[in-house]
């Protein structure tokens, strides 16, 4: 190896090491970064809950057909599940344990409720007003929790 090439090789190796350091099994964000990720997760979950609410309401009014509603709700359920899974994989920073428990509880409820909506859609039950109200309330809670 030529002497002049060494700095370039070192730079590439350092970059690779930094890259690998960022690819750990568990991501460990600082408090501010965790807050941002949690807020984004709440916003995303809120979007999925609102989508489920709209899809179910449209189906109840006979404005969509069965397979369309099912696909919409199955995709919303999958996306909400991914949001919860991604946040739960982050190492909670010191001082955020209570906040994390609250956020993860909200996200878990979102996954469960959207899943319930999907189950209703698959079995053709669109007229459950109580479920629509629950989706409404959870959507509001998620919006309020996301700063």
């Amino acid at each position: 190896m030529k002497r002049s090439q060494r700095p370039a090789v070192v730079a590439v190796l350092l970059a690779l090491a930094l890259l690998l350091a960022g690819c750990g099994v568990v991501s460990r964000p600082g408090p501010a970064a965790w807050d941002d990720r949690a807020a984004q997760a709440l916003t995303d979950a809120g979007s999925e809950v609102a989508t489920a609410r709209l899809a179910l309401e449209s189906a109840r009014k006979g404005r969509t057909w069965s397979s369309y509603t099912t696909v919409l709700l199955a995709e919303a359920e999958e996306a909400a599940g991914k949001v919860e899974e991604d946040l739960s994989r982050l190492q909670v920073p010191a001082g955020r344990a209570d906040a994390a428990a609250h956020v993860l509880d909200l996200l878990g409820r979102a996954v469960d409720l959207v899943g319930e909506a999907r189950a209703h859609a698959v079995s053709g039950k669109y007229d459950d007003q109580a479920l629509l109200d629950q989706l409404d309330r959870l959507s509001d809670e998620l919006q309020q929790a996301a700063p």
Partner: protein
Amino acid sequence: MKRYFAVLLGILTAIGGFVDIGDLVTNAQVGARFGTSLVGVVALGVVGICVFAEMSGRIAAVSRRATFDLVRERLGPRMGFLNLVGSMLVTLLTFIAEIGGVALALQLVSSLHHLLIVPFVAAAVWLVLWRAKFSSIENVLGLMGLALIGFAVALWQLGPDWGQLVAGVSPAEKPEGEGWATYAYFAVALFGAAMTPYEVFFFSSGGVEERWTSKDIGVMRANVFIGFPLGGLLSVAIAGCAATVFLPAGVAVETLGQVGLPVAVGIGKIGLAVVVLGFFAATFGAACETGLSTGYSLAQYFGFPWGKFVRPKEAAGFHIILLLATVVAAGVLLTGVDPIMVTEISVVFSAIALPLTYFPILVVANDPDYLGEHVNGPVANALGVFYLVVIAVAALAAIPLMAVTSMGQG
């Protein structure tokens, strides 16, 4: 009478064929997050595509040769190769996204997972490219694409506050929670979706396929200057529907099913069925256009026979490229990659490749050896240069904005 019919058919197919998966997804995403505050970018992109499509159509009509053919000859093999690589990679990415889009549209009516549908869609696209006449592909799918007018009807039926929608067109009306970097990222994506490179290659190669002459320039201009802006209005209607239904509800658009939901809210099941037919036609039509454009660009650069007007036996290389591109597209989609994510990436990379596509067209359109008396006039040149500056800014900003905003997450 026949001429008037040809003009009307050309305009209608230009409207119906204007929107593709990139326009559908990006306009709905932008409407849901930014309301109508980015409508100006759609208008900018539509005028831009009109300027360059007219130039490439004029080049095809006068020289009877397609764009890549002339770019290589006029600017040399190096510039031609750069033009080829940049444009073809984006076109292939768009081809993958369009095939995925067809599968997603069929998923909405069958509830089968789109991965099960992809191989059949790919086979159908290849069969159409192999067997169907060029005019049939263009006319049938273009006319079916008019079903997307359902979005305009839905917007009217949703009864939005029109004053608020119009007032929201100003960038100053960007929602407070959204940062300027995210706003700029989506502006670049919208611009890339409107000016995607394959449109001009398909348009000019289509002109050669249909044997345009300088007598056809008038009809071609009518298609471009009436059809494309009306097609652009469909994009605005998609954004308007999303702004009316999703923005107040805090819904972010991530799936094709969500794109159609405002139509269900506005006009119900029949309207939704019409729009889903429009999704199918728009994506299937664009899959054929991007597939053909991949074959056109490679065949024209390397100089072997191409096109639907040549017998498949005589254009074997061209048809092998179409087959390989289709296999690659299906293979990529079968890895499980999300077609919507491929679409999001393709529109941003489209913005990056724009200078490589449009600069050579402007050069060729100014060359009297190819265009004689039909070279660019001062207005076409002024607009062309203005757009090259805009395109260069968008291309330079695309990657940094993509990194800073984590692909628009903010």
